[in-house]
Structure formats: structure tokens, C-alpha cells
């Protein structure tokens, strides 16, 4: 693991986001009293080793008009899940796609795909499309909709996404 003190300082300084100025890395460099080359090199290194997933925008699905957000869960054979997960993740309406553990005998779903639609009908069609991708490997599925947000905070320092 290559995560040093400079990385931590950069992380803290960008926790709230990247400055919206023409030269954002230069501004960070001034704030942290480090050369801009170091800032850019460390950001690249963190991207390469996966500490930074990417530099980008986190959309708010609800505000984008996607009011129907479903957590679709699927039971697929473990030996096929990586191939199937990649395929499902490529569908345009899937925002998150993960392999998670089953809790047998109660919970047998191991593939999770978050889907987003403007209408219930749109989500129903999306679920059908995932089912088509999975074909006979689909041994059962369900869709869980959120009925209420009970808590939503930013992640604490050191944690995001």
C-alpha cells in the first residue's frame, strides 16, 4: 500500500471537492504549500493504485429526474458471477453493480444492481433487460425499493464512495 502523508493532505484538501477555478491543482498546491508537480504526480499515482477511483462528478439520481431507484438482487451461479456482473454493469441504466455474499438459507441473492428510471414502467423494463442478459443463469430475483431515507450524511473524513 502506497499511501503517504502527502496523499492524506491532498485527500483532506479535496474532501469537499476540486476547486472550480481555471487551475485547480495550482490552487491546491498553494493551499498545501507543495509544488504543483507533486500534487499532480500524487493524484496520478493514487489513480493508478486505485486509492482514487476517478476524478469526476457524483450525480444525484433523484434530482436528475430518476425518481424510481430500485436495488435489484439476483441469484446467479458463483462460478459465472464475474462474467455476468461485468455484462450487467455495462447496461446504461445500472449505476452500481456488485457481488455480495449470500446468507443461506434466508438470502440467496449474490448479484446486486442499482437501477434508475423516471417511471415504474421504465424500471420494470430495465429489470426485464437484466433478466435477458442473465438468461438461464438467473435462479431468482427481487427488486427492493426504498420507501424512506432514514439517514443520509456525507462520509466521514477518510471515507468516500
Amino acid at each position: 500500500m502506497d499511501f503517504n502523508d502527502i496523499d492524506l493532505r491532498i485527500m483532506r484538501a479535496t474532501q469537499a471537492g476540486l476547486p472550480l477555478v481555471a487551475e485547480p491543482y495550482q490552487l491546491l498546491a498553494e493551499q498545501l504549500n507543495l509544488p504543483v508537480d507533486v500534487i499532480m504526480a500524487r493524484l496520478r499515482a493514487m489513480q493508478q493504485n486505485g486509492v482514487i477511483r476517478r476524478i469526476g462528478a457524483v450525480p444525484n439520481h433523484y434530482r436528475l429526474g430518476y425518481r424510481f431507484n430500485g436495488m435489484s438482487v439476483w441469484n446467479v451461479p458463483d462460478e459465472e458471477i464475474d462474467t455476468l456482473g461485468e455484462q450487467v454493469g455495462k447496461l446504461p441504466f445500472v449505476s452500481h453493480c456488485y457481488h455480495r455474499p449470500r446468507h443461506l438459507p434466508y438470502w440467496h441473492y449474490n448479484l446486486f444492481a442499482m437501477v434508475h428510471g423516471r417511471t415504474q414502467e421504465e424500471v420494470n423494463v430495465q429489470i426485464k433487460q437484466i433478466a435477458e442478459v442473465l438468461g438461464e443463469s438467473n435462479r431468482g430475483n427481487n427488486v427492493l425499493y426504498s420507501s424512506k431515507i432514514l439517514k443520509k450524511t456525507g462520509f466521514r473524513s477518510g471515507n468516500k464512495t
Binding site: 486509492v51 469526476g56 436495488m71 452500481h96 456488485y98
Partner: protein, 156 residues
């Protein structure tokens, strides 16, 4: 039946911008100008649009997205089967944990789903135990075993 017509507060250029940024923002001296060139916009357009999207809450954040697990932190999704008569009480207990970042009620027998984010794996495991102890309920821990996709593609 009333049809709700939703008019999103963003236009096709915003959608293109958000989509473009899903693939990663450049690391160079004038990154906004580089994005602008790619999208046939001006640097000022890109900066102004991003600021408006943030102000309007259409994007909740713009910047590096850090991977908690790779910095020593830990993250998991967990679920509880909460008896309806205790739902409010359990919500209070679970939400009181600062490690609980999100918590959603969902339409399933497993009716409470929350995301835990901690500084260490050890803290994560301890928090799960504490939640079980305080609620008296079994916690279904569902950490990700593999990630296939995280992002969003908008129709432009």
C-alpha cells in the same frame, strides 16, 4: 390517473458534461479548458455549468472519488429484519452510530439497509457487533466481494 411530468433542471449540454466526467477528469495545468475543448465549449462554460449543477444539487460533489478500502478504511452494506412495531426505535439506535452513512427503509422483510463507513476493518466489525447488541437483531452483513461497475450514463 395524474401523470407527473418531470422537467429536469439540466439540459443536453449538462448531460454531455456529466457523462464526459464519468470517464475521468484530466490531471494537467488547465483541466477545465481541456474538457471544454473536447466538448466544444469554453472553459468558462464548463466552470459555470459545474457550479450551477452543484448549486442545484444535480451533482452532489465534483472531485476525486476516494476508495475507502484502499486507504485502510472499510465499507459495508448491511441489513436488518426489523419488527414493524420497533421500527422507529431501531432507526434511532442505528442512526445514532456515526459510522452509519446512509440508512434506507426498503420494501422487503429485510426492511432496513444501511451503509457503514469506518476508518478500519476492526472498527467495522466492532460496530456490527454493537448494532446487534443494542438492537437485539441479527445483522446481515453484505460487504462487496467484487465491484463490476460504479457510475452513471445519462441520456443526452
Amino acid at each position: 390517473m395524474t401523470e407527473h411530468i418531470f422537467k429536469p433542471a439540466y439540459d443536453a449540454i449538462d448531460a454531455r458534461l456529466i457523462n464526459y466526467l464519468q470517464d475521468g477528469f484530466p490531471i494537467c495545468e488547465s483541466p477545465y479548458r481541456q474538457v471544454a475543448t473536447q466538448l466544444d465549449l469554453t472553459e468558462n462554460d464548463v466552470l459555470t455549468r459545474l457550479q450551477t449543477l452543484l448549486d442545484d444539487g444535480i451533482i452532489s460533489r465534483f472531485g476525486p472519488l476516494y476508495h475507502a478500502e484502499r486507504m485502510g478504511g472499510a465499507l459495508t452494506l448491511a441489513a436488518l429484519k426489523v419488527p414493524q412495531e420497533h421500527f422507529e426505535q431501531v432507526t434511532e439506535i442505528v442512526n445514532a452510530f456515526s459510522q452509519v452513512a446512509h440508512n434506507y427503509a426498503r420494501n422487503h422483510e429485510l426492511n432496513m439497509w444501511f451503509v457503514l463507513a469506518t476508518e478500519t476493518q476492526q472498527e467495522l466489525e466492532q460496530t456490527l457487533i454493537d448494532i446487534e447488541t443494542q438492537t437485539g437483531l441479527h445483522v446481515y452483513n453484505m460487504p462487496k466481494l467484487n465491484e463490476y461497475f460504479v457510475g452513471l450514463k445519462l441520456e443526452a
